[in-house]
């Protein structure tokens, strides 16, 4: 069975995602090579960083096209993490205006919590699953995950599988068929996070990927 590919686009901490899969005993490989993305069983797009820099890095490495071909073209299972959730939207207003991968209907804007709470939304917050998702099996509603973001995804309700509450019910996770994405950091959310990643690999197994 081939490995899970973790996309390396020069954007920051990939080690923690790789460490998390290693803890689960699940083979993974960090790569920027389109050939490796082609042969991988699934693609994980992590992201710690700014939307514009991320899209520029993806484009300059030809990874936007490679990801498009694999995930949208060939239906390869996908998991976006944090910035990786925002990048699949149409666009973001972080540092101006930047187009994203446009895989799902959605836009990324700055968080505006109702009671003027501090931004970024950083810390452990309770996940509220709102639709059945393979990622959240055996994850109790209200389980804590680590969030750290100043921007959030706005998208149609039917795509949303979980929300979190921070002066507003923000999107915490989406699913569009074989495309999953989460706003929180499963690789930094201790056991709850490992459960989500294990659920992702179980879902891959069930699909025969």
């Amino acid at each position: 069975m081939s490995a899970i590919a973790i996309v390396d686009y020069g954007m920051g901490n990939l080690g923690s995602v790789a460490n998390a899969f290693a803890r689960l005993g699940v083979p993974c490989e960090t790569t920027a090579d389109p050939a490796k993305l082609r042969s991988a069983r699934a693609i994980v797009l992590p992201g710690v960083g700014a939307f514009r820099a991320a899209m520029q890095n993806l484009r300059s490495r030809g990874l936007d096209r490679a990801l498009d071909e694999e995930v949208r073209g060939r239906g390869k299972p996908f998991l976006g993490i944090c910035l990786g959730l925002q990048l699949i939207a149409h666009d973001s207003t972080e540092h101006g205006f930047e187009r994203g991968l446009a895989w799902i209907e959605g836009h990324v804007d700055r968080l505006s919590p109702a009671e003027a709470q501090p931004v970024p939304h950083v810390g452990w917050n309770e996940l509220q699953p709102v639709a059945p998702s393979p990622l959240f099996e055996r994850v109790a509603p209200g389980a804590h995950f680590f969030f750290d973001h100043s921007y959030h995804l706005r998208c149609p309700d039917e795509l949303v599988s979980a929300r979190c509450d921070y002066g507003g019910r923000w999107v915490a996770a989406v699913q569009a068929g074989h495309i999953h994405a989460v706003q929180f950091h499963p690789e930094k959310s201790q056991r709850n996070g490992l459960r989500v990643l294990r659920n992702f690999t179980r879902w891959l197994d069930a699909r025969g990927c």
Partner: protein, 280 residues
């Protein structure tokens, strides 16, 4: 709802965890990897490692910290340029901590935020009588800590860590007025540090409104230190995450956060049940 964070700080000098007293005396504690793995096991909400020998942590060192850390890892100390920021984040840190550089070269804050996002940038400010000092407390800036914090937030800092030099290592409690001033000055999360001696001190600090309390020395000398502190806070109505293999729910903790002895009847009938750790 978002919980208040309890952050464990690990000060490293010459590859050793040290206890800091007033920014002047440093006593050895032990190995960083051991400290980090236990703080992680005990459910610290984040771990913040500061190198205080003037040189930034190497990528290999950061990678070694990251390996043991399943909670967000912030790394700082001696970070003065964008290349170092990039190396540290790509080696495994989730956030970079800037202190002296945030004052001497504030453009670095913006550079780091543009590349990695403001949520990756923590500016740490050390204060005496409300005034900011850099270079490990040795150089006065002549600027109020609050004013410096405001400027750094404008430049793109995601969080402010405010540390009281006077309270450092004192175990006399946090500088509540300093925390209150900083919380009132900025619209980004504030992390309070310096002086924790009891969970009661953390409670008083959190009552000033910061997003998080941090402590270094406090967590390094007792077993389950993080779990006990959080249990005490939870028992006193502070919303914190309690997610570790040990629970002290229903147990009495004194003002110092120590477990009270169980009553004789309970001790007489105490039995232990083996609960195997869940394999995820």
């Amino acid at each position: 709802m978002l919980k208040a964070r309890v952050i464990a700080v690990v000060l490293v000098k010459d590859a050793t965890v040290v206890q800091s007293i007033g920014f002047r005396r440093y006593l050895p504690v032990g190995r960083p990897d051991i400290a980090i793995s236990y703080l992680d096991r005990w459910g610290a909400d984040e771990i913040l490692v500061l190198h205080i020998d003037g040189r930034p942590a190497s990528p290999e060192t950061v990678a070694s910290y990251s390996r043991h850390c399943q909670v967000p890892l912030s790394v700082g100390g001696g970070v003065r340029d964008a290349a170092t920021v990039q190396r540290i984040i790509q080696a495994g840190a989730d956030k970079i901590v800037l202190n002296t550089a945030a004052y001497d070269d504030p453009a670095l804050i913006g550079q780091a935020a543009e590349r990695f996002g403001e949520q990756c940038v923590v500016v740490s400010i050390d204060a005496r009588r409300g005034m900011a000092y850099v270079d490990g407390g040795k150089r006065a800036t002549g600027t109020e800590a609050a004013a410096l914090a405001v400027g750094c937030a404008e430049r793109g800092a995601g969080e402010i860590l405010i540390n009281s030099i006077e309270r450092d290592g004192s175990k006399q409690g946090y500088d509540l007025e300093l925390i209150r001033t900083l919380v009132g000055a900025v619209r980004i999360p504030v992390i309070a540090c310096g002086g924790a001696g009891t969970p009661e001190h953390m409670h008083a600090a959190l009552a000033q409104g910061p997003a998080a309390v941090a402590a270094a020395n406090f967590f390094h000398f007792t077993e389950h230190s993080v779990i006990l502190a959080k249990s005490w806070l939870a028992a006193h109505g502070v919303p914190v995450r309690l997610d570790s293999y040990a629970s002290y729910a229903g147990r009495e903790l004194d003002a110092q956060g120590r477990l009270a002895r169980l009553p004789e009847e309970a001790l007489d009938h105490l039995r232990f049940r083996y609960v195997p750790e869940e394999v995820i």
